[in-house]
Amino acid sequence: MNEFTNNPIEIDQLPRFEEVALKGLEPKYIKVLLFNFALFFIAVLGGFSALFYFNQELFSNTIWIIILGGILLFLVSMVVFTLLSFRKKGYAFREHDAIYKSGLIAETTTIIPFNRVQHVAVHQGFISRKLGLAAVELFTAGGNSSDIEIPGIAKEDAEKIKQLVMGKIQQQL
């Protein structure tokens, strides 16, 4: 197969996005995840106990125990899954683009060139604010599927990133 004839740029010499060292999220962000998870945990268990309390005749005791075991197993595996996937998340800002990678089973990498960024937003959730964390969001004209949101960045870093990207956008105008 004759690739890129008539093309002065050697494809091998181009910078490779897949070899960029990605920066992980702040370890503190795990707390945010765990807190959100705890809320979910309480809701599920609350629902289960309510059902058990009001409708005990619905199943026999063994089945109740099996259901409880199933729910616990599900929740625990979700925690493990969340923690593992936390380590898989990473981002990098190159001179001309932003890279965000995530996903445990399917590794997804999104790259947005700065000259396609429409605007940048920094936002904080309730727990994140207490911990001094923020999320950076980059929006393009490609709609929801192509926007990236990088959570778990230290607030001051997030602001710096925002300034950086805004600066890049300004340059292009």
């Binding site: 996005f17 060139p113 393009t140």
Partner: protein
């Protein structure tokens, strides 16, 4: 045509009639099932009550139309360079649009407007989510003058615009269209395309009608239902199915042809200052301008029949401010020949995109699609047949037919699924029956996404999603090293050139 728009002015007087008819149309459309049921269900209608109430209703509507006519004014504010529209009877709305923000001004004519002899002027703004503005009744010269004034700020417009926009009513002004889609071509298109969409529409129509009838008149409908039931029982079910199948195919074809004819009758494409001007419609004449720089994805669709008849369909997706608008921003050109297609592509891209290096999906994609479309349904079927309803085994021949048909479709679809890359374009080919070729310019890329399942690392395959302002395109399970190399190249192209993508 030195009409000044600096003073607030109203629409044409006949605008009252237009507003009246529009509101009436809207109301009738909304309450159509109710009215129908009312007329048929109520026995001994007392016309002494009905007629006066209709009269009162109509005069109220007329009054409303008159008031909304009075309250609708528009003018151009010279100082702030804004176009201002005031409207509303009870809730007053003032809309101001900065002239720089105006992307497009369309002059259209719906069926009602055609009868009355006025035009609608619609203003398209980009970059904001604000509602588009439209003036519903305006005379043609005035519309043209206003359009010229509104677009004066833009660099490449004005005088030529006036002459080109005129629909078929003023042939002396129209530039000669280079593509005219004949009645015959539309017939061909109607017969050979959009089967699925027609079936969907039919289904939707059937369910809504049924629901409406059922909710109000239960007994009558039951009678019909049992009749159909008896009929089906009397015949063998197989025979019934063939019958239904034939009727369905017949209806789909007729619906398709009629829909295509109404929507696209008199389709013409002409050039205008480097843009494409499309004009079409039997009852509602629509004029749309396609600016090449706004085009994001161009889809060329053709199936086996259409290939034999040398016709194909082109769909153009333009950049849009928000995703809701996306649908409105896709424009179809039904039925052009190979040569006409090349002319259009030439206008959009200033060259004809060639298919370059080809990438194929991995065989795992075929296996996975087969599993999804045959494996799972087959498992469910066997499960039902064994554990729940042994009768299902009587229809084994149907299951076999399904398997053969779907396997064939999936296989052909897999064979057709290709990614072509050359220096300036990416072309993704897909589809089993209707084969789509979707073309993107590399400069129009907004973002790139790769995705790889962890067990696909070893065989080195993965998926690619290309995001544009007109939607995203996906290519699954290609050679991941090659895909990544292309991504690096495309990123280089996009980042080093700073192309205009809109």
């Amino acid at each position: 045509m030195e009409t000044s728009f600096n003073q607030p002015q109203r629409q044409s007087k006949v605008g009252i009639l237009v507003m009246f008819l529009y509101t009436l149309q809207k109301l009738v459309r909304a309450f159509f099932p109710l009215i129908l049921v009312f007329l048929f269900k109520t026995e001994n209608l007392n016309w002494l009550y009905v007629i006066p109430s209709i009269l009162v209703f109509i005069s109220l509507l007329g009054l409303f139309a008159y008031l909304s006519y009075l309250n609708f004014t528009f003018f151009i504010d010279q100082e702030s360079n804004e176009f201002v529209i005031n409207e509303g009877v009870f809730n007053k709305t003032k809309t101001t649009i900065h002239l720089d923000k105006i992307q497009q001004v369309n002059i259209n004519q719906s069926f009602i407007q055609k009868i009355i002899g006025v035009y609608a002027l619609e203003i398209d703004t980009a970059g904001s989510t604000t509602k588009e503005v439209s003036i519903k009744a305006i005379s043609h010269p005035l519309a043209l003058a206003l359009k010229t004034r509104l677009l004066e700020n833009e660099t490449v417009t004005t005088h030529e615009f006036q002459t080109d926009v005129v629909p078929e009513f003023a042939p002396e002004n129209t530039e000669k269209p280079f593509i005219k889609i004949s009645f015959w071509t539309l017939l061909k298109i109607g017969f050979t395309s959009n089967y699925l969409r027609s079936i969907g529409l039919l289904f939707l129509f059937y369910t809504t009608v049924r629901e409406n009838l059922q909710s109000i008149s239960d007994d009558e409908n039951n009678a019909v239902d049992t009749q159909i039931g008896d009929f089906l029982e009397a015949q063998t079910i197989l025979y019934g199915m063939f019958f239904v199948g034939f009727v369905l195919i017949g209806i789909v074809l007729v619906v398709n042809v009629v829909r295509t004819l109404i929507k696209f009758f008199g389709f013409t494409v002409s050039k205008q200052k480097g843009s494409l001007l499309l004009s079409f419609g039997l009852f509602n004449t629509k004029n749309t301008i396609v600016k090449p720089e706004k085009v994001q994805i161009t889809t060329i669709t053709r199936n086996y029949f259409q290939k034999k008849l040398d016709i194909l369909e082109i769909k153009i997706q333009q950049a849009s401010a928000n995703e809701v608008q996306n649908k409105n921003n896709s424009i179809e050109i039904p039925g052009c020949s190979e040569v006409e297609k090349d002319t259009i592509l030439n206008l959009i891209f200033s060259e004809i995109p060639q298919k370059g290096v080809m990438l194929k999906p991995n065989w795992r994609k075929l296996v996975f699609s087969l599993f999804l479309s045959i494996g799972i349904p087959f498992l469910i079927y066997t499960f039902i047949a064994i554990y729940i309803e042994p009768l299902a085994f009587d229809y084994v021949f149907l299951a076999v037919a399904y398997v053969i048909f779907v396997a064939l479709m999936v296989f052909v679809g897999y064979r057709n699924n290709r990614l072509f890359v050359n220096d300036d374009f990416i072309i993704i080919q897909s589809g089993a029956w209707d084969v789509d070729n979707r073309i993107i310019e590399i400069g129009k890329i907004q973002a790139l996404t790769t995705s790889q399942l962890f067990w696909h690392k070893k065989p080195d395959i993965g998926s690619l999603t290309i995001h544009t302002a007109g939607g995203a395109l996906q290519f699954d399970l290609g050679n991941f090293s090659k895909v990544k190399a292309y991504i690096n190249l495309w990123l280089y192209e996009v980042e080093s050139k700073n192309n205009k993508w809109m």
